[in-house]
């Protein structure tokens, strides 16, 4: 059925099955294949992430993903401020001056600037009973507002309190918070001022 390739192939009768000429495929088609394969390799090199399961577009490589990771593990003042405004600032006021008959101030308070161990315990279990803040006697009850916070966030907000509104004290690290949590265990009773003063 096959006939040799020719410029004007003979017309087969209607009833015959079709036949195929043997003209070679044009050269430029073959060249095109190779050019495209080369282009494909260049493209894949740039956009393929080299088969890494953690590289998604628009990142081009694992190195780029690593370079774009958020910096600085650990709490930041920005984070502390956000947590403060959502949780503590509602009662203690965003300027740290407290609210009369509601919450004592933080600015310049010894309870804030003093021992971190003491300060960390307060949000973890709460504070109730008479307590002297600066020159005022307070006798209210604070619930354990920080018990549900992760270590990072609690460290951040305590650091923020210790370093805002003129306060200049050291930062509190998540490790410190973690250690205190381990020490007090499952305590549910709020602290009293006396118990806290006993903490070094």
């Amino acid at each position: 059925m096959n006939s040799a390739g020719s410029q004007s192939p003979p017309v087969p009768p209607e009833a015959a099955e079709p036949s195929a000429g043997n003209l070679p495929a044009p050269v430029w088609l073959m060249v095109l294949v190779f050019v495209m394969l080369y282009g494909a390799m260049v493209f894949f090199d740039q956009y393929g992430g080299w088969f890494d399961a953690q590289v998604y577009m628009p990142y081009a490589s694992l190195a780029e993903v690593q370079a774009c990771q958020p910096r600085g593990g650990g709490p930041s003042l920005e984070r502390g401020r956000a947590v403060y405004e959502n949780i503590c600032g509602l009662c203690h006021n965003t300027d740290g001056k407290g609210r009369p008959a509601q919450a004592p101030p933080f600015a310049g308070s010894d309870w804030v600037l003093g021992s971190p161990e003491r300060m960390i315990r307060i949000p973890l279990s709460g504070l109730s009973g008479p307590v002297q803040v600066e020159s005022t006697e307070w006798n209210l009850s604070m619930p354990a507002m920080g018990a549900a916070l992760p270590d990072d966030d609690l460290a951040a907000v305590l650091t923020y309190i210790r370093q805002s509104w003129g306060n200049k004290a050291s930062a509190i690290t998540p490790e410190q918070v973690k250690a205190v949590r381990a020490q007090i265990g499952a305590r549910s009773q709020p602290w009293t001022a006396e118990q806290l003063k006993a903490v070094p």
């Binding site: 998604y56 990771q69 930041s76 003042l77 947590v83």
Partner: protein, 322 residues
């Protein structure tokens, strides 16, 4: 020459190649993904959807919601912002550093910037550049940090904070990625529309909530029943003309409730290694879980939107770092 077996073998290997490359290899790579810690938080992501939401996914599948809605947020690039959060104590040094990294600012503008902290002072930088600028600022005692910000048209439109990745979907069957946006993308719909009542009304009469919407009404997900003794607390409150005749009430079927629970569990903006972003700790958690912690039984909040209903999407949001 009998090409038959040769043809068969060659075609077999070609198909096998495709099968190997696109079925076997991906399965080896991403077929066994597990939940992982979110960046910077001890919370696992993703969490399995609560039972009602999982039933809602079945309703989503049966009614072909994925034919019109996608759940894939795209991302064009990742840029870095420099966030100045505290000026520290050495104000003159900070001021000069700020003017160095922002030569376009005049001195009064710089002072104003320093009085309104925290603020992003530079946007759209590459990571190395941003690190350098932060070092300059931190050297003066100020507190500056780099924010990682994904950008793209979908993100600018408010459809998500970052692109979707494989890990977002490991607990879903079937994964409802969708292929067309006849309706908006739903990957983070629970952030944009957290109200169950809105969703129920939208399902019952889409054009009530979104003017010009092309979504068909899903009335068959609701029951019209006679009011017995007193109206049900779940009854829908609809404007006149759409409401049931007197003596009857419209109550969502369990399928509708489940579907809404599923929609309210859709959220994919937790920072991951493969999709990093800096989360501005807003109200609540440091990052979103893929489901609310408590399954919410939607109570129909009884305030239908005003007749000039707003469109589904809010105006484009600014960079997430606030």
């Amino acid at each position: 020459m009998n090409y038959g077996p040769l043809l068969f073998l060659a075609a077999f290997f070609a198909l096998a190649g495709s099968w190997f490359g696109f079925v076997l290899t991906p399965q080896a790579q991403i077929g066994q993904l597990q939940p992982t810690n979110m960046l910077g938080a001890p919370t696992l992501y993703p969490q399995a959807r609560p039972g009602l939401a999982r039933q809602g996914l079945e309703v989503y599948r049966a009614n072909g919601c994925a034919d019109c809605h996608t759940q894939q947020v795209r991302q064009s690039a990742t840029v870095c912002d420099v966030l100045l959060s505290a000026a520290g104590t050495n104000l003159p040094a900070v001021l000069s550093a700020l003017l160095r990294v922002r030569p376009d600012l005049s001195e009064p503008q710089a002072r104003q910037c320093l009085s309104a902290l925290p603020q992003p002072v530079l946007q759209g930088l590459k990571p190395a550049e941003a690190d350098a600028k932060v070092k300059v600022l931190n050297g003066t005692g100020a507190k500056a940090s780099v924010s990682i910000v994904p950008v793209g048209p979908d993100i600018a439109r408010g459809w998500g904070k970052r692109r979707n990745v494989a890990r977002d979907f490991i607990f879903d069957y079937p994964v409802a990625l969708g292929s067309q946006r006849i309706g908006p993308d739903l990957a983070n719909i629970s952030v944009r529309q957290p109200d169950a009542g809105w969703h129920l009304r939208h399902l019952y009469a889409p054009r009530l909530e979104v003017r010009g919407s092309a979504m068909p009404p899903y009335r068959f997900l609701f029951d019209k029943r006679k009011i017995e003794r007193s109206p049900s607390p779940d009854a829908m409150v609809l404007p006149r003309g759409l409401g049931p005749p007197p003596g009857y009430e419209i109550v969502p079927k369990p399928q509708a409730v489940a579907l809404v629970a599923y929609l309210l569990s859709l959220r994919a903006d937790a920072p991951l290694f493969e999709a990093p972003l800096t989360v501005a700790p807003g109200a609540g958690a440091t990052g979103a879980t893929n489901a609310p912690t408590a399954p919410e039984v939607p109570a129909a909040t009884n305030t239908p939107a005003a007749s000039g209903a707003t469109s589904t999407n809010a105006a484009p949001t600014n960079a997430p770092a606030k």
